[in-house]
């Protein structure tokens, strides 16, 4: 059971309060009608499924209810960072530097 830092509650809390919500930074196209079938497929289905640091979303479901973003290493399951939805996507190299 993971421990997850909720950036809105500013507390590190047990995974049981959270729900996973898939890969992060996959924006819904602003004008869906203008995109191709392949682009729409990418939005709906294509995932990096990376082995290593993964940008992903969680929801503090049983707590503040907020969706937020995280970078978690899918090999160790360790979180490198969690951040608010409107925060910029953190640069991986800096995160890895920091975690060392």
């Amino acid at each position: 059971m993971l421990l997850i830092h909720c950036p809105y509650c500013n507390q590190t809390l047990p995974e049981l309060e959270f729900t996973y919500a898939g890969e992060a930074h996959i924006a819904r196209p602003a004008d869906p009608s203008s995109v191709s079938d392949e682009e729409w497929r990418d939005f709906l289905f294509i995932r990096t499924n990376v082995k290593g640091p993964h940008y992903e979303r969680w929801r503090h479901f049983h707590g503040c209810g907020r969706y937020f973003n995280a970078v978690r290493d899918t090999v160790s399951d360790r979180f490198l960072i969690t951040y608010k939805t409107d925060d910029p996507r953190p640069e991986l190299s800096k995160l890895l530097e920091k975690s060392k």
Partner: protein, 417 residues
Amino acid sequence: MTHFSALSLIKNALSGQKNWEPQWPDSEPKAEYDVIIVGAGGHGLGAAYYLAKEHGITNVAVIDKGWLGGGNTGRNTTIIRSNYLYDESAKLYDHALDLWDGLSQELNYNVMYSQRGVLMLAHNVHDVQSFQRHVHANRLNGVDNVWLSAEEAKEFCPPLDISPTARYPVVGAALQRRAGTARHDAVAWGYARGAAARGVDIIQNCPVTAIRRGPDGRVTGVETAKGFIGAKKVAVSAAGHTSVVMDTAGVRMPLESYPLQALVSEPIKPIFPCVVMSNSVHAYISQSDKGELVIGSGTDQYTSYSQRGGLPLIEHTVAAICEIFPIFNRMRMLRKWGGIVDVTPDRSAILGKTPVPGLYVNCGWGTGGFKATPGAAHTLAWTVAKDDPHPANAPFTLERFSTGRLIDEAAAAAVAH
């Protein structure tokens, strides 16, 4: 290859077991192959076997980052069934079931395919509707699957609690009698032995780091820990690691890899005569030849390659088993383990060609990969050999995710275990 038989066992017993040969050699890579298969699980080894046996293509290497059969082949709960809802799925899994039947003899290796029957429990009206739909569709597809009342289900599986006051009462069940279990390791070993005997190289502990393509876009080979190995065709059959490997060829996949947990109890004398699955409570159970209750759990909620898995899910799974089989409450868990399953958005596999010429993919089996082993292997070999899919795997394309022609077993309320 030594032919296995009771006679060979006795002969070797009398000679102190000193004369057995290796079942497969541990090969070093050649410079080039006609076909390279990435991933030495049951699917990959089986594909190599069928390439050699049915298509005469023997200049084949199966390459794995670890030991053969060390991935999901050796980590699953060994359930075999084909009572899927959609015609496409039923056809592919039934193709596999036909091959399971007789696989021991075909491979001269006892894979212990045991047609113990798989019982899928219905706990409410919705389950009944959904399983009846399966039963009817299976019947017309020629797939055996019958509907049992709760009492008939109890007769088939005596440990079952069918009291109507249960939190999840059993209101009926779908039974596929041909379904059952097999010995997972033996499947990988049997195919490995059969493939190796036909000239296939099995290269273990050799991670594939990249798929290489030529200027025309066509596959030229793979980069590995042991250097570049040329290949006219490459088939990726790497389960949870498929996304990582395919990404190196520039093909992005609709896959996510989740941890899946399973567990066994301490061994006991025979008590459980079949396989029971309950989608409503997310658990399934059978008893192995050794006597352990083999129990499968659902996937954890987050993607992961850690193979660790959490305690809450296991607690839920065990509670679910004890809810349906209260007599097992005092049994003890012996060990639990995790695998990594690659899951597609419609919970059906992807098996076929890719946008890259000479590159084939077999993945997305989720929790259903083991039962498909001979079918996936056989149709993958066909697809690679002919550069054209076998009718059984033709619908399982990558393109369906653009067109929307999904084979949605998940949406049809059958969790694809």
